[in-house]
Assembly symmetry: C2
Homo-oligomer: 120 residues x 2
C-alpha cells in the first residue's frame, strides 16, 4: 500500500453517501446487495449511487458481479484491512506504546468472548 493508493481509498470513504454505502455493504457481507436495493436503502437516485459505487470500485473497496439482471456489490474487506494497517503502521514507527490502545480496543471490539451472534 502506497500513499497514492491510500489517498484514493480515504477519498472514497470521505463522502457521506459513500461511507454509508460501504458500511451497508459491510453489514450485508457475504451476500452483497444489488445496486438498486442499495440505492433504495440509502434513498439516493440510482445513477447517483452508481457514480459513487464506481468511485468505491476504483478504490478497490467494493467488488461487483453481475447476477442475471442485477449487479451485486460486495465490500472488499481485504482492501479495507490493508488501509487500516497502512494507517496504523505509520503510528507504530518506533513507538509501539502508541498502537497498544488501538490493538486493545479492537480486541475487545472484535472478540465476542462468550455468546455466538444471533444473526445467521
Amino acid at each position: 500500500m502506497e500513499t497514492e493508493e491510500a489517498v484514493l481509498a480515504l477519498a472514497a470513504l470521505s463522502q457521506p453517501t459513500r461511507l454509508e454505502a460501504f458500511r451497508t455493504l459491510v453489514r450485508h457481507e457475504p451476500d452483497g446487495l444489488a445496486a438498486g436495493d442499495l440505492a433504495r436503502l440509502l434513498e439516493v437516485p440510482q445513477n447517483t449511487l452508481s457514480a459513487h459505487l464506481s468511485i468505491l470500485s476504483r478504490a478497490r473497496l467494493v467488488s461487483s458481479e453481475r447476477h442475471s439482471r442485477s449487479i451485486i456489490y460486495r465490500a472488499n474487506l481485504g482492501e479495507f484491512r490493508d488501509i487500516a494497517v497502512f494507517l496504523l503502521r505509520d503510528c507504530c514507527g518506533g513507538r509501539p506504546e502508541v498502537c497498544q490502545p488501538v490493538v486493545e480496543s479492537l480486541q475487545s471490539c472484535c472478540a465476542p468472548k462468550r455468546k455466538e451472534k444471533a444473526r445467521a
Copy 2:
C-alpha cells in the same frame, strides 16, 4: 465518533500533502514540528501548508501550541485511534473473523520488544 466526524477526518487525510503532513508529524512525536519546518520538509509554501494544517486541526487530527515565535504542531494520536476504531467497528458487526486478520497484523506490527520480531 459519528459518521459526520468520521467523514471530516477521512476527508482531511485524503489529500496527499495533508496525509504526508500528518505522517510526518506522527514520526516526530512527541516533540512536534514548527509549521515552517514542516513546510520546508514537505516543500510546500507556508501559506498553503497553513491551510492544510487548519483542515487537519479542524478534524482534530493535529493540535498546535505557540512556542515563542513558532507554532508547534503535533499529531493527535487519540483522535487517530478513534477513527481507526470507528472504521473497524463497522467491519465487526456479526463477523469477528473479519477483524481477526487486522488485529493480528497490528499485533505483529506493533509488537513490543519483549519478543523478537518474527518475520514469518
